[in-house]
């Protein structure tokens, strides 16, 4: 075992130790296990909220896309700020309703608004399915880190399995208390490492950031902008829109509203969270620095750009520290996602069908589901053969289908019925699934369409289908009649 691997596993051991320590002396029920007993202070909530943004998706996927695609990677910087702006009005409305009706989860919210526990189950299932690719990319990232740090001794498949087992054990042992402590360590480390790499590499290799971009522009003209087809401006605009609308549709981001003290805190977050996004710039710098230095990585291998360049430039112990940071960026969000999806399945799906289930049994079931969800995600990761960014975009295409039903539910005189909401969500998800499974694109399905429409992100096309079905089914199931009655 080399120095790099020793350091990475030392950090893993430390994270697990912190998890056990945080739990000691507490007999945790599901409530505590899942939302930390609502006892975290404002700073911890903030760290968790901000920490969620910086996952292995940004660390490896962001730099990988800057390396592999160039200009299209800028979408990653663009959607967060738009999501935060919307959150200023969207989240306080959700918060107020949730507080008045004593709701605890995303599923509760939909079930209550549309007076249908079945809709709550549907929303939960869609959210969990959307989280599978999100989880898969964390495991994939862990696999890349461990495999690269082993300097070839461990294959990426074996490494991904090791990573999955580590996250699963971590979640079962520690719950969210572990993630909170490790999240603090992770946020500090990722900040130091990314800013250091993002400045050091361009200066050491090119003599500066501006010099680096000029050099790339000279050697690969057109690389720094959006191409005419494929990841074109139409793709960029539709993808930014999709991801901005979907940003708060994940059960964990939606759920962050329920833990907020008051609506003012949520609105205040919207003022400074956009600035957090700027750290992504340094991630891009690393990816661009790799373009001319470690050429030749294609397909899903682009996610290796940051690690490969680090291995060329630094000693094994520094690579170990960088790898350990990467480990934490996968471990913290990965454990969070794993815990949320298991809890949702136990509480918002199983318990709805078997209402007599005791809290204790739901809690046990959630823990049993952890390794199962992890195994499914690992399988998905090994099967898909897709890079980190495309995995997350698949998750977003699915989860954003919840947006229309949510938006209408917040409007006075909502004409959308539970049937309309459900049919829209199902139609949207089926559209995404069909196109993904068939491995096709809008352009291939309808070759006569102009390039601008052909490049549109499938998630946005599905959203249009979703909206149309929602409208038609709502009208057919008496939505308009209900509204007339109310206004009469």
């Amino acid at each position: 075992m080399n120095v790099a691997l020793v350091i990475i596993f030392a950090f893993l051991a430390l994270a697990v130790y912190l998890g056990i320590r945080a739990r000691r002396g507490k007999d945790m029920d599901l409530e505590e296990w899942a939302v930390g007993g609502r006892s975290f202070g404002t700073i911890f909530i903030f760290v968790l909220l901000a920490g969620e943004i910086y996952t292995t998706f940004t660390f490896l996927g962001g730099s990988g896309w800057a390396y592999g695609e160039g200009g299209p990677a800028f979408y990653i910087l663009s959607y967060g700020c738009l999501a935060y702006i919307m959150s200023y009005w969207l989240l306080p409305a959700v918060w107020r309703y949730a507080k008045e009706n004593r709701l605890h989860s995303q599923a509760d919210f939909f079930a209550s608004k549309y007076e249908s526990s079945a809709l709550g189950v549907l929303v939960s299932l869609v959210a969990v399915i959307a989280m599978v690719p999100y989880l898969a990319l964390q495991f994939q990232g862990l696999g890349l880190i461990v495999s690269e740090a082993s300097y070839g001794a461990i294959s990426s498949t074996v490494a991904a399995i090791i990573g999955t087992v580590a996250v699963t054990v971590y979640v079962i042992i520690s719950g969210i208390h572990g993630s909170a402590w490790t999240a603090v360590a992770k946020d500090i480390m990722v900040l130091v490492v990314v800013v250091f790499l993002g400045i050091y590499l361009p200066f050491a290799l090119y003599g500066g950031i501006g010099e680096m971009f000029r050099e790339i522009q000279a050697q690969k003209p057109g690389f720094l902008v959006l191409p005419d087809e494929g990841y074109s401006p139409a793709w960029f605009v539709s993808t930014v829109l999709l991801t901005a609308l979907g940003f708060y549709m994940w059960p964990h981001t939606f759920g962050s509203v329920f833990t907020a003290e008051n609506a003012r805190v949520i609105r205040r977050n919207a003022t400074f969270l956009p600035l957090y996004q700027l750290i992504l710039l340094f991630v891009f710098f690393v990816g661009f620095a790799a373009v001319l230095q470690v050429p030749g990585l294609g397909g899903e291998k682009v996610d290796l750009a940051l690690l490969r360049l680090s291995k060329e430039e630094f000693s094994a112990s520094v690579v170990g520290l960088i790898g350990a940071t990467g480990l934490l960026t996968a471990l913290v969000p990965g454990s969070m996602l794993l815990m949320v999806s298991s809890t949702v399945l136990a509480k918002n799906v199983y318990k709805v069908f078997v209402p007599s289930t005791s809290e204790q049994r739901v809690s046990i079931l959630a823990k049993i589901l952890v390794p199962i969800v992890a195994a499914v995600s690992l399988w998905f990761s090994l099967q898909s053969g897709q890079g980190i960014v495309l995995l997350l975009l698949l998750g977003y295409s699915l989860v954003t289908q919840l947006f229309p039903a949510l938006l209408f539910s917040l409007m006075p005189n909502n004409f959308v019925t539970k049937w309309g909401a459900a049919a829209g969500i199902v139609a949207g998800v089926l559209t995404v699934t069909y196109v993904t499974v068939k491995e096709t694109t809008i352009g291939q399905l309808f070759p006569f369409l102009p390039e601008e429409i052909a490049d549109t992100n499938i998630g946005i096309v599905a959203l249009v289908v979703n909206f149309a079905v929602l409208l038609i089914v709502s009208l057919a199931t008496g939505g308009l009649a209900v509204r007339r009655e109310q206004s009469a």
């Binding site: 200009g71 800028f74 910087l77 663009s78 967060g80 700020c81 738009l82 935060y84 702006i85 200023y88 306080p92 500066g208 950031i209 501006g210 010099e211 971009f213 000029r214 522009q217 720094l224 902008v225 959006l226 401006p233 139409a234 960029f236 605009v237 930014v240 829109l241 003290e261 008051n262 609506a263 003012r264 609105r267 205040r268 919207a270 003022t271 400074f272 956009p274 600035l275 996004q277 700027l278 710039l281 891009f284």
Partner: protein, 66 residues
Amino acid sequence: MRLVYLLAALPFVGILVGTPFVNQAEPFVLGLPFILFWIVMWVILSSVIMAIIYAVDPANKEGDEG
């Protein structure tokens, strides 16, 4: 609807409508390709605009219920 809320629409216009029109690497601004500089500018402006809205929004002057 207060007029100042309309400011919040600007980043949407800037990023979703504007970006295709500034899809170029040159001129480099602060060392960044122009399209990247454009996006960074709007991320910062988003924060500024939301700070203004937060400051004038009467809801934030009330108690915790807001």
